[in-house]
Amino acid sequence: MSDTNAKITEEIRAKARELLSSGEIAAFLGFTSGSLPMTTRPFVAKRPGDADKLIWNSFCVMNLANYLPALLESLEPPRGPKDPPPAGPLPKVGVVATGCCSRNIVVQMQERQVDRSRLVILGVSSRGMVDRKKVMAAAEGREPLKVEEGGHTLKVSGRDYELEIDRWSAVRDNCLTCAHNNPVISDYLIGPVSNRDVKDRFAQIEAIEAMPANARWKWFTDEIASCIRCYACRNACPLCYCPTCFVDDSRPQWVGKSTEPADTALFHILRAFHCAGRCTDCGACESACPMGIKMRLFTRKLSKDAFNLFGAEAGLDPQAQPPLATYRPDDPEEFLIVEEKK
């Protein structure tokens, strides 16, 4: 583990232990180590002693905001569906949040999914998380049995091989173009803050836009061809909290259940569109996908347009309205057909 990670881990543990011991929070949401190299598990510490299981490294790729609404609810005293909300302050939750995760918390605040006063946020400036699929690709099919993180390198080793790769070359696509790696809200800041100056934030999207329509259609259908409709992308996403997702609607049934091309395409289009103006490009969807589908490119296009057309970026200001929940009288409308009165 790199020194920075070790230090951040220590600080997270200490703070979580302190908050749990003092009773300020009832639970602390962080990461613990997984059973394989390059895996981590979201983890809820409920006793001060659990804090030692918390860790921090470049493989903390899930977005913890995803767990917050349910976790907060689980800590409320039980009540019937028609009972009024309990009076008095409710138990709080501590959570580690990088830039994107903190922005998703802001989105959840805007959408009334979490109550800021019940959160204690430990902000961590992200150095960019590592994409284990990229590391696997660098290992060329050989199983990585151990992956050690250095400051700027990853040491990968397995049966009969050892490999050192540049850390940045294995960083996730979304992290490469992230301009908000520092938490936008937090109660405590953990570890060093690093600022990034990212140009070409939408270069990946522009490259696709530059292709002819038929090539784009081919790109899109090829990209999603191996989708197994497991919905890991949806379920990993902190924006997806609808009690009944459109994929489960049966009357009308918006999306067929098979993995035939039209069904899969509609699933991806609508999933992405439901995230329009709300997606923080946290990359959890892409990291969760077992099939390596780059569905982030879909949401990224929508973020690009929301930014260019409405000047909106998701999750920066708790007071702001999500761009699709508001309007300006002078919003662009060149795409509309308007016939002049004769």
């Binding site: 090539a215 259609w217 039209a262 347009d305 409308e333 016939e339």
Partner: protein, 158 residues
């Protein structure tokens, strides 16, 4: 209103033939565009019979789900039309919708859906003639594109 053509069972995604005529689903808001369509009829402004009108309370009611559902069912084109800005019966339904439609149109084109498959317009209750012009324009666009294939759900029965 039952649409005999939609019920006929012919394959909407049929191959283009000499007399192929596109089918265009038009979501029209109750207060402006639907009334505009009505006025077009009453005033005898001719427009191509390719559209199948679905009346909705407001253009703001039309979601991406509904537009895509029409394409999935084999519609060759979609038109969504509502009140001009400022005229919305619900004050801002059309303005909210405008943002949504702008994003959706760009997004579908980004994924390779042909520009012109989905169309948006403002038509007021007094714009019968304009309504017929919009329908002519949209029908022309869709005709030029040919039958829809992308996103169409197919079931083969032997």
């Amino acid at each position: 209103m039952e649409d005999k053509n939609l019920q006929s069972g012919t394959n909407l995604a049929a191959s283009p033939t000499a007399n192929w005529e596109p089918r265009i689903v038009a979501f029209l808001c109750n207060w402006c565009s639907y009334a505009g369509a009505d006025l077009a009829g009453v005033s005898r402004f001719q427009y191509p019979p390719n559209i199948r009108i679905i009346r909705v309370p407001c253009s703001g009611r039309v979601s991406a789900n509904m537009i895509l559902d029409a394409l999935k069912a084999g519609a060759d084109g979609v038109l969504v039309s509502g009140c001009h800005p400022g005229d919305c019966h619900y004050i801002s339904g059309n303005l909210h919708a405008r943002r949504r439609f702008g994003l959706l149109k760009n997004f579908l084109e980004f994924l390779g859906i042909e520009p012109g498959r989905i169309n948006f317009s403002w038509v007021s209750a007094s714009e019968g003639e304009q309504f017929s012009e919009v329908v002519k324009k949209v029908t022309g666009r869709v005709k030029a594109l040919g039958p829809t294939r992308r996103l169409v759900k197919e079931i083969r029965i032997d």
